[in-house]
Symmetry: C2
Subunit: 195 residues, 2 copies
DNA sequence: GCAAAAGTAAACCGATCTGTCTACTCGCCC
DNA sequence: GGGCGAGTAGACAGATCGGTTTACTTTTGC
């Protein structure tokens, strides 16, 4: 990626996240990056493509941010809680307005939009991660436990983003910790087959 | 509200929710409602005001939809689970793209925007509801339990909206049920004071 | 040392954006 | 029956949208 493209993508990322995708025009991105529109279109081809690369790059950054947290943990339970720790630290600097994927999803209605699979892919990856980590704790309930952790985590990102109450991600971490403490011996067959 | 204003607000609600606020122009709203732009501006004054009334009316509809569910429940635990039941039924018809408040929040950056307090007000109301219902089960842990239920509920709306996995709201209901079953006798002092 | 790649500057395109305006019609109520 | 509120039809405004183009300059790799 050329220096101009780099600056453009960085500027677009900040603007898209802070103001929303539709609210940010390509002229603003170019001006903010100190780049001309020609450079933008030479490098990316379209605004749509900038959006796609914004989301993909942000996901990549998040995964790189998360990895050491999980790797540093020594227990299965610790690896799960490490995800919440990483989210809390990430949210402090990068994510004061909630999940960029969820926010982008609010603005993109067409499932054929190339950004769509980036969004759903990121969520699928997170669910797979929680499920895989849950497998080390409760192999037979891993799918269900993974989904529960996913719900707590997504809820925390929303609560933090909208500012429903303070320290939402810490609260979710506490809830996950309690779940892994109590849940590992209770309600072994609840719900999975119901409904 | 005049018939023209009614149709305009209905059309705007569908369009805003499905396509996003910034993606929908006033011309489209007018055309879809079978109304002229003059009527729009005579009745609402600005697009911003249409957005505010869209969110406020949707919140009002949701509260009216929810009330009978909660009132019909006979136990404290049942009243909490009734919220999830209502959300599941509501989501089936009205809310296939997640929470309109969260989605609107993604597009509105300025906290001074008049829609902002509608959004945060709705979330504060839901948290207060969960907390009040939790008080009947565990008075001393009501604040914390209310927040946990809020996280599960918000997470379920996101999971349902983005389509992370099927029956997300049912899963959240199951998790809430398990929490009310196990949690009522476990971990009485966990986390509340911890950072 | 030279050619290709990457960039600037700025005009330009048609479409769409929010918002305003004039001119006219219809129904209702006192 | 006269006035008023609510509406249609549609032109108009200035700004901004995503995107293209021309002409020229800088950087960089072989």
């Amino acid at each position: 990626m050329t220096p101009g493209a780099r600056r453009a993508l960085d500027a677009a990322s900040t603007l898209f996240y802070d103001r929303g995708i539709h609210a940010v025009g390509v002229d603003l991105i170019a001006a903010e990056a100190g780049v001309t529109k020609k450079t933008l279109y030479d490098r990316f081809g379209s605004k749509e493509q900038i959006v796609v690369e914004y989301l993909a790059a942000r996901d990549e950054r998040w995964q790189a941010f998360l990895a050491p947290y999980v790797e540093a943990a020594t227990t299965a339970r610790g690896r799960i809680l490490a995800v919440f720790d990483a989210s809390r630290d990430w949210a402090g600097e990068n994510s004061t307005k909630g999940c960029s994927m969820v926010n982008a999803h609010a603005e993109i209605s067409d499932p054929a939009h190339p950004a769509y699979q980036v969004i759903t892919g990121q969520k699928a990856w997170m669910l797979a991660l929680f499920t895989a980590l849950a497998r080390d704790i409760a192999p037979r309930r891993a799918a269900k436990l993974g989904r529960t952790l996913m719900l707590l985590h997504e809820g925390a990102l929303v609560a933090h983003g909208v500012g429903i109450f303070p320290d939402a991600i810490d609260q979710a971490r506490d809830d996950a910790a309690a779940l892994l403490r109590d849940g590992s011996r209770a309600a072994p067959t609840a719900g999975e087959k119901r409904r």
